[in-house]
């Protein structure tokens, strides 16, 4: 004990006598320990928040999907890439088996997919109004006629602009002829005489020239909406209502709705005001300036939506707001949209108060019906109508584009898009075939009578035709008409019965993910369910792997700093040993064993390391606490996702502190091995030669 005391004293004294060197080494150790403590604490917190955020939004703790899937499941995966995750062989059996496992709270059926919706252009809308109005009273279509001519004028200008860039003069000349015709008085005199002929010309020749119709890519999770809302606690309706029980339809993500469905001007305006309110200035921000320019250039999209009563009203409002600006409505609008830091708030309010009610702020509104199109695996187009019941978001992830990229759909609509027939469609198909007088239809009927069930029928039809009947031309035509007559409600018992691609498994205790995963894997083998399991991190797609990237960056930083520490500690200890050779020689001469010298050298580093490590760990804990009370703001979308919300509130545990001190201790000891060997190699004879 006293021997240790004196050795420690020697080590301490030696430390003090090399204080400059030891201060430098100590600072590196403090910094390294702090980095480990803060880094691992933040990483743990990120993982925890991310897990909480993702699992309670859409993935659940585990996901199961077909073991024959071509691609990995990626619920929040990259947009636009269609992945093939196969289908669950027998969902009711999978769900029943997994639900019976201990610790499983719920199993939610799902299907991931992407559909396209062709938005209507403004011209389509005006033409539709024109048609409806002319059917009621062809003489009272002046407002609509004017709107058509306004659009034609705009197209005329676009045609001029395009001429400057394009060499395809022939096409531009053809288009110009059509536009000029629509602009001419003669055309509208003709309209008064025979609206239907002119409407046909507008529909078939003029309308295709308009380019402002918008494609909407709708990435969705099809599920049992009621079940989903119950199981995922972060899910919340923002506008409208949830999809009612047994009804078809979609819920659009609020983020998606704001970013892709909202009209461009409104979107730009929102984006600018958001940045300005976060203390950016337009004057100093080139990105915001270009947004302002884009907004002003899009003034036309407002003008074409104004009718002859709305224009003067808006003119009067502008007169009040900006009395100094004279000119046409277009000039005033462009000037209005050219916002700067001094007037942005005022104009933003004006926009939503005066202009927004006159235009369509969203391409499709809550309550509207959209037509979704998707392609089956073999490339056939399917379409389904879907009502937009409302918008939703995931609490805490409101600001995340990644979390906001998925929409919710009922499974029955999904099945239409996926290309599976409902019993009614089967019946109708049979009817059509009968009417078409196809010979083999009778044979199919016979099979149907024999086997009964719809799934069997489907398989047998395919077998008899030697082709997949679903994808035959007859069927395509049939389904095209069916889409228009699809039912808007369905019996809820149908939900689990048809195609389900994947399922979320929700656990009672989130800490038992690995255990339950193994249990499901074992169950799969035993019951031959044909499934594979992914945890939330894998299932969330690329973004789930971000945490690995962050870990990698952190660990690389830790490795670098500790390599530097290792080299520096090693170097300074070798130097210190060299200086102490006479002292070491003396200790050896008067009877100190090599082991004593080894202990002495290691002790010096260890003492330094414990002091620096404790300071570093405490400083790290302090920093984490500070971060925990302030919160680390998520600077971008991916961060929001990783943090499971707009801010991360990191916490540290004992393990973070232990890790911090343990790593620095190991590094110190490793870096002292060489100097310690040098020290033990000192011969006692040097004591005889030494100068004090």
């Amino acid at each position: 004990m006293d021997r240790w005391k004196i050795l420690t004293l020697l080590a301490l004294r030696s430390m003090v006598s090399h204080r400059v060197k030891n201060t430098i080494v100590g600072i590196i150790m403090i910094f390294g320990t702090m980095l480990v403590v803060v880094g691992t604490a933040v990483l743990d917190s990120v993982e925890k928040s991310m897990q909480e955020g993702i699992t309670s939004s859409a993935t659940g703790h585990l996901q199961v999907y077909s073991e024959f899937a071509e691609d990995d499941l990626a619920i929040f995966g990259q947009m636009g890439t269609a992945s093939d995750i196969g289908e669950l062989d027998d969902y009711p059996r999978v769900a029943k088996n997994i639900s019976q496992l201990p610790g499983v709270a719920d199993v939610v059926p799902m299907a991931l997919g992407t559909a396209v919706s062709f938005g209507h252009s403004e011209l389509d809308r005006v033409l539709e109004e024109l048609r409806e109005q002319s059917e009621r009273d062809a003489a009272a279509t002046m407002i609509q006629q004017q709107q058509v001519r306004q659009i034609a004028e705009l197209m005329q200008r676009q045609n001029d602009n395009e001429r400057k860039r394009s060499t395809d003069e022939e096409r531009l000349d053809d288009e110009r002829l059509i536009i000029d015709k629509v602009l001419g008085d003669e055309f509208w005199q003709g309209f008064a005489e025979d609206p239907s002929a002119q409407l046909e010309y507008l529909d078939t020749r003029f309308a295709p020239l308009s380019t402002d119709g918008k494609l909407l890519y709708v990435r969705y999770i099809a599920t049992d909406p009621e079940h989903f809302a119950k199981s995922f606690e972060r899910f919340q309706i923002v506008d409208g209502e949830a999809i009612p029980r047994g009804k078809r339809g979609v819920l659009l993500s609020k983020r998606f709705y704001e970013q892709f469905v909202k009209a461009r001007i409104a979107r730009e305006f929102d984006a600018i005001i958001e940045e300005v309110r976060e203390s950016e200035t337009i004057a100093a921000n080139a990105v915001l300036q270009s947004r302002v320019d884009r907004m002003a250039r899009a003034a036309q999209t407002i003008i074409i939506q104004l009718d002859s009563t709305e224009t003067p009203r808006l003119m009067a409002d502008f007169e009040q707001l900006m009395p100094q600006v004279a000119g046409t409505i277009e000039e005033r609008l462009v000037s209005f949209l050219g916002v700067d830091d001094s007037n942005i708030e005022e104009r933003y309010a004006f926009f939503y108060e005066k202009i927004a009610p006159l235009i369509e702020v969203y391409d499709v509104a809550v309550g509207d019906e959209i037509v979704l199109q998707a392609f089956t695996k073999r490339g056939y187009a399917k379409s389904a109508k879907a009502k937009i019941w409302g918008t939703f978001n995931f609490r805490g992830l409101e600001g995340s584009d990644l979390a906001g990229a998925v929409n919710i759909m009922d499974l029955i609509t999904f099945r239409t898009l996926y290309g599976k027939m409902t019993p009614e469609q089967h019946e109708e198909l049979d009817l059509i075939r009968e009417q078409a007088g196809a010979r083999d239809v009778s044979a199919e009927d016979a099979e149907a009578a024999l086997f009964g069930g719809s799934e069997d029928l489907e398989a047998d039809v395919a077998a008899i035709n030697g082709d997949d009947a679903e994808e035959s031309d007859v069927f395509e035509i049939a389904l095209g008409t069916l889409a228009n007559e699809q039912r808007d409600s369905y019996p809820v018992e149908e939900i689990p019965e048809g195609v389900v691609l994947n399922a979320a498994v929700i656990l009672k205790d989130p800490s038992r993910i690995d255990e339950t995963r193994a249990a499901i894997a074992a169950l799969n083998v035993r019951e031959k369910l044909g499934i594979q399991v992914a945890d939330w991190q894998e299932a969330s797609g690329l973004v789930g792997q971000f945490i690995l990237v962050i870990s990698l960056v952190l660990y690389t930083a830790i490795v670098i700093i500790f390599t530097v520490a290792l080299v520096i500690i090693n170097n300074s200890m070798v130097m210190a040993t060299m200086e102490r050779i006479p002292e070491i020689g003396t200790i050896r001469a008067i009877g100190g064993q090599k082991s004593t010298i080894m202990i002495l050298t290691l002790l010096e580093t260890t003492v330094l390391c414990m002091i620096a490590g404790s300071i570093g760990a405490l400083a790290g804990a302090g920093l984490v606490s500070l971060l925990g009370s302030q919160g680390i703001p998520a600077s971008n979308d991916v961060m929001v996702f990783l943090f499971g919300g707009p801010r991360l509130y990191p916490e540290f545990g004992a393990s973070n502190l232990i890790w911090g001190v343990a790593i620095i201790l190991v590094v110190s000891i490793v870096s002292t091995i060489y100097p310690a060997l040098v020290a033990t190699g000192v011969q006692p004879a040097v004591a005889m030669r030494s100068k004090e």
């Binding site: 021997r3 004293l9 002292e583 003396t586 001469a589 008067i590 009877g591 090599k594 004879a685 030494s690």
Partner: protein, 234 residues
């Protein structure tokens, strides 16, 4: 009286670059327990090498060195260290105190290396030794706060605190003024008389040699008797 140190036909060579330095060529000597022996000779005659061999700091290239009955060439480093710790005490020309420890701690240090003694017993031994060398008032001083003579007294106390059979002193007075030097030799002599501890010290100071019971002279790495025999045969 019994022989405590014995050297027979001892040769010691050191490699120096590509050549070999013959530090000792032929050394034969015997020292009895309790003797106060000086090893004399000019610089480079091999005094320090002889002390290194007796002090188990080094082993001979040839011949036999026997210290307190142990043939040193047959011992491993660990055993040699044990022999140094328990049987030998060292007094160096440059005092070689541990700078970061105070007087008391310096004297106590070999006892701590030995282990085995309780704190109180250790304290008693240390204080006894410090009293013997007359430095009781300076217990808390660091070596740098002491004069050369005081430092050498501390070194003597450190060498003797373990009650060794043999104390080796390598030119103990070389770095001291003559008056202090003689007082150190007198102190050593006094302890030699009191405790019957064997003292072997090297010196080239004639007046210091006069204090010795016996002087062993070295010339060119050989004891004088051996040198005479060699010259006679030549």
């Amino acid at each position: 009286m019994s022989t405590i140190v014995e050297m027979q036909g001892v040769r010691k060579d050191y490699p120096l670059g590509k050549t070999v330095v013959h530090a000792l060529r032929q050394v034969d000597l015997e020292i009895e327990a309790g003797e106060f022996t000086a090893i004399a000779g000019p610089s480079g005659s091999g005094k320090t090498t002889v002390l290194n061999l007796i002090g188990c700091i080094d082993v001979p290239s040839d011949g036999v060195v026997r210290v307190a009955g142990h043939e040193t060439a047959k011992l491993k480093d660990r055993a040699l260290t044990q022999l140094r710790l328990h049987t030998l005490g060292f007094i160096f020309q440059n005092f070689n105190l541990i700078g970061v420890l105070n007087l008391y701690q310096n004297v106590e240090f070999p006892l701590l290396l030995q282990g085995g003694l309780g704190k109180a017993e250790r304290r008693q031994r240390v204080l006894e030794m410090v009293d013997k060398v007359g430095l009781t008032d300076q217990l808390k001083q660091r070596p740098t706060e002491l004069s050369g003579g005081q430092r050498q007294r501390v070194a003597i106390a450190r060498a003797l605190v373990t009650r060794p059979k043999i104390v080796l002193a390598d030119e103990p007075t070389a770095n001291l003024d003559s008056k202090t030097g003689y007082s150190i030799i007198e102190l050593m002599k006094e302890i030699n008389h009191q405790d019957n501890t064997t003292f072997i010290f090297s010196t080239h100071d004639q007046k210091v040699m006069e204090h010795a019971d016996r002087v062993i002279e070295l010339i060119d790495g050989m004891t004088v008797a051996a040198e005479q025999a060699e010259s006679a045969s030549a």
